[in-house]
């Protein structure tokens, strides 16, 4: 595979942006001593090229599993099933889950790469940053010199002084710098898709917001597709074009950011919005979500949210709702999504 440094960006054949990654019935299971826990339960989602999609879920909702599954890198003894079709800009589509070992090794980081939450511990403490970049380029037989040139450009895009960062050890950098260096490392082989699992969780407010705005610049400059996974709903609305809400290891709702914010159709999304302390919305209506997060081993029958949902009816508890289209760009998995408007009012409805 010759270095891809010079590949001109391929003119898009069809006007409507085609799907880069499409997941069908994606599940992850762990055999535990108290039963098998399905930490991802039949996820169907299509991610379009050059799109930034946010995946929001509380801790324990399976979102980290989704990130690992996209690279078929679920931790042992997890078993990933279903199908993930990846369509590179040139070359034929491929199912990520049944690739041969070295084809998978080539796919990871060259075409789909990942940024972990723990930036603080993603670097080898006894190896300089430069070492990390060089060894990655060499492992994929990229031209190291051109690679380092690209890295310097990436680092300065991320407001980092390239030479100072490359020559320092991980423990000499602050949290924010390390996270941005990790993003640069994940882009060094010019991947098409960047999966990010809570990339800014451990950082300060200002740093978080700055990184988010940097990411949208990077998307435009390197025409990337990004999957931004977080629990911080307000933050992701500043970056994502579309948002998927994950609850009880399934997708509850997927839609454009605009629709999800102003007119969410799933009761859980509404409850989530109402419970998120926000700077502008009025104080009085803040209400926490009752009940506890579901347990992956015995996921409740029917709609997983029915135990905590104020609108739950008889068939919510028995029949599992599947995805219905509330609009061209808005799907929701709920039997009563039409009635949600008048049942649960949205406290973030501000007259702005």
């Amino acid at each position: 595979m010759s270095g891809r440094a010079d590949a001109a960006s391929v003119p898009k054949t069809d006007t409507e942006s085609e799907v880069v990654l499409s997941c069908r019935d994606l599940s992850v299971e762990f055999r535990m001593d108290r039963g098998t826990s399905r930490v991802l339960n039949g996820l169907d989602i299509d991610i379009e090229r050059n799109e930034i999609i946010g995946v929001v879920g509380e801790s324990g909702s399976g979102k980290s599993m989704f990130a690992s599954a996209l690279l078929d890198a679920v931790v042992e003894p997890g078993v990933t099933s279903g199908e993930i079709t990846y369509r590179p800009s040139e070359g034929e589509p491929v199912d990520v889950l049944d690739l041969s070992d070295d084809r998978l090794r080539q796919l990871r980081w060259e075409e789909i790469s990942m940024v972990f939450q723990g930036a603080l511990s993603s670097f080898n403490p006894t190896l300089k940053l430069r070492g990390h970049f060089v060894e990655t380029l060499e492992a994929h037989d990229y031209d190291v010199e051109a690679g380092l040139e690209r890295t310097r450009e990436l680092l300065s895009d991320l407001y980092l002084d390239p030479d100072r960062v490359l020559d320092s050890y991980p423990h000499e950098l602050s949290g924010g710098m390390k996270q941005r260096a990790l993003i640069a490392l994940s882009l060094v082989l010019e991947p098409e898709v960047l999966v990010m699992d809570e990339p800014t969780a451990a950082l300060d407010l200002l740093m978080q917001r700055s990184i988010v705005s940097l990411l949208s610049d990077l998307r435009d400059k390197y025409d990337l597709t990004m999957v931004f996974i977080t629990h911080d709903l307000p933050l992701v609305t500043k970056l994502a074009d579309r948002i998927g809400v994950l609850y009880a290891f399934e997708l509850a709702e997927v839609g454009s950011t605009e629709e999800i914010l102003s007119d969410p159709k799933h009761p859980y999304t509404r409850a989530l919005l109402n419970s998120t302390p926000d700077i502008d919305s009025p104080l009085e209506e803040m209400r926490p979500i009752e009940g506890a997060a579901p347990d992956p081993v015995n996921v409740p029958s029917g709609c997983p949210y029915h135990e905590r949902c104020p609108m739950a009816t008889e068939d919510c508890a028995t029949i599992k709702p599947d995805m219905e289209a509330a609009s061209a760009t808005h799907d929701v998995a709920c039997h009563h999504w039409e009635r949600v408007d008048d049942e649960i009012d949205l406290t973030t409805e501000v007259d702005r």
């Binding site: 690279l71 890198a73 980081w109 790469s113 993603s122 060894e135 423990h171």
Partner: protein, 341 residues
């Protein structure tokens, strides 16, 4: 960075001084100390000797000025030490420093080989056990390591002498090198040097083996623990995702980070190795520094014993000091955190 070096040098100096004072204290002030015992002995079997003559003899033997004020004695003792005068060995009538100068290289020769051998074997064994965690290989070697680690090395020594020495006559059962071999260490006659070294190694083999069997088990268990911990780290997962070769990960990631804490354990092991030679060399009648320590003991030859003790401690302090300084090179984090290893 210099603060770290300064701190280490200061500590090394303070250690040496405190050991000297300890030796001074033990030699003179302990009840039933050797100086009084020796003087009593002198007075007893040659009553006509003048007090001055007796003091001179005692001072000459143990460099002890009995009636001088304490601090003066101490100063005299220290200056004597610094100039290499460790007093005279009672039963060998030869300055202690001479005996030690002749014996020390041998102890350092055997013990450094034993230490390094056990370290290297232990590390590689431990790393492999970590990679094959939970397999028969791992469990099997863990148990054997525990077993070997729980036998004193001199007992292993006795058993080795018994089987490989007496029963099968494969190895000599004592001494530094065979009599007909004349010790030559020169680049001029390479064959002679090699032959001599070969013979010396052959003689020291059992001693080194007995130390290595026991110590390697300890290193293996420790390395296994560290490696398993490193294998669980995030940066390992990221390294694999980046498609680095297994060999690169095993050496530069797992190996490098797992060995770091063992480096500090190596420092402490230097002390134990030298100290342990006291019994091992006696069991193998291998005339190193430790051997003379026990010889000195049987003859109540305090200057020799004290001399050996001092030299051993200084050797350990030097070893620890050098290793401390080089620690900063292998663990970048140590440089900035002032040696918090």
């Amino acid at each position: 960075m210099q603060r770290y070096y300064l701190e280490r040098t200061l500590q090394a100096v303070v250690t040496v001084v405190s050991v000297m004072s300890l030796a001074f204290f033990l030699l003179r002030l302990m009840p039933g100390n050797p100086a009084d015992a020796y003087r009593a002995e002198l007075i007893q079997n040659n009553p006509q000797m003048s007090q001055a003559e007796i003091d001179h003899r005692v001072e000459q033997k143990l460099n002890v000025l009995p009636d001088a004020p304490l601090h003066e004695q101490y100063l005299n003792y220290v200056t004597g030490l610094l100039s290499g005068d460790l007093g005279e060995s009672i039963n060998e009538g030869v300055p202690v420093s001479e005996i030690i100068a002749e014996a020390l290289p041998w102890t350092i020769f055997t013990m450094s080989i034993a230490l390094l051998l056990s370290f290297v074997i232990g590390i590689s064994l431990g790393a492999v056990m970590a990679y094959k965690e939970g397999s028969y290989f791992d469990n099997g070697f863990s148990v054997t390591s525990i077993l070997f680690n729980s036998i004193p090395n001199y007992i292993v020594g006795i058993l080795l002498i018994w089987f490989l020495g007496y029963r099968f006559k494969l190895f000599p059962t004592g001494g530094r090198y065979s009599t007909e071999m004349d010790p030559t260490l020169g680049l001029l006659e390479p064959i002679q040097t090699v032959a001599f070294l070969g013979d010396a190694l052959w003689h020291a083999a059992l001693l080194i083996l007995s130390y290595t069997f026991v110590a390697a088990g300890g290193w293996a268990l420790r390395m296994r623990g560290n490696s398993i911990q490193v294998l669980g780290e995030d940066y390992l997962r990221v390294a694999r995702l980046r498609g680095l070769s297994e060999r690169r990960i095993a050496t530069r990631y797992v190996g490098r980070n797992a060995v770091l804490p063992l480096y500090t354990a190596l420092l402490i092991a230097i002390g134990f190795a030298l100290g342990g030679s006291v019994i091992l060399e006696q069991v193998f009648t291998y005339p190193g520094v430790g051997y003379y320590m026990i010889e000195g003991l049987e003859a109540r030859d305090y200057p020799l014993m004290m001399g050996v003790f001092l030299v051993m401690t200084i050797a350990v302090v030097l070893g620890v000091y050098v290793a401390d300084l080089t620690y900063g090179l292998i663990d970048p984090r140590a440089q900035t955190r002032g040696g918090e290893h």
